[in-house]
Symmetry: C2
């Protein structure tokens, strides 16, 4: 089918899977790292950096944006992307809670 049976899962499990989904493509991992690394949030050359076409990068950015990880700023001429660090750390915490809680319970 390809469609997930979302209704049988808990909110927490869905949240974890949605966070993981953002990181489940190497291009998105690279983009996140890149926009964090850039001083003054100078962006726009993600395309050159990653090696995928502009529409493809834009598509990946949308996934990242939909997850709430992107802050857009105008700095002079270009639309500048910036990582929403607070949200990013929220994601880390949710995953850590899952990891800790799960491994603590194991035999």
């Amino acid at each position: 089918m390809g469609a997930s049976k979302v209704e049988i899962h808990t909110e927490t499990h869905i949240l974890i899977s949605e966070i993981a989904k953002v990181l489940s493509h190497p291009a998105r991992v690279a983009i996140l790292e890149y926009i964090a690394k850039q001083e003054n949030c100078i962006c726009g050359d993600i395309v050159d950096e990653i090696g995928l076409s502009q529409p493809t990068i834009s598509q990946h950015l949308q996934v990242i944006r939909n997850a709430g990880l992107l802050k857009g700023n105008f700095e002079g001429k270009r639309l500048c992307y910036c990582l929403d660090v607070a949200r990013f750390k929220e994601f880390q915490q949710v995953l850590n809670q899952f990891f800790n809680h799960t491994s603590a319970q194991c035999c």
Copy 2:
């Protein structure tokens, strides 16, 4: 296309995305939590627990197994699954390294 352009990405980015991919479906998150929770690794009723068909669960288990997160034991009659906690914690560490490294660099 649907196929990822793996050759343009770094080993680290691919590793992170592969770890995330395991967690990118709520059923797999639920399965991991469940097999960790079970005392004495009593398994086999994952199907009842999750609410998906046996072949579908088996398929998700394969993804988890291929990631190296599953240890199979024989305990009496049934094939018992157990979480490989060491590997699981390895995954956590890789993700945490990415999160820490990335958010530390951000503006």
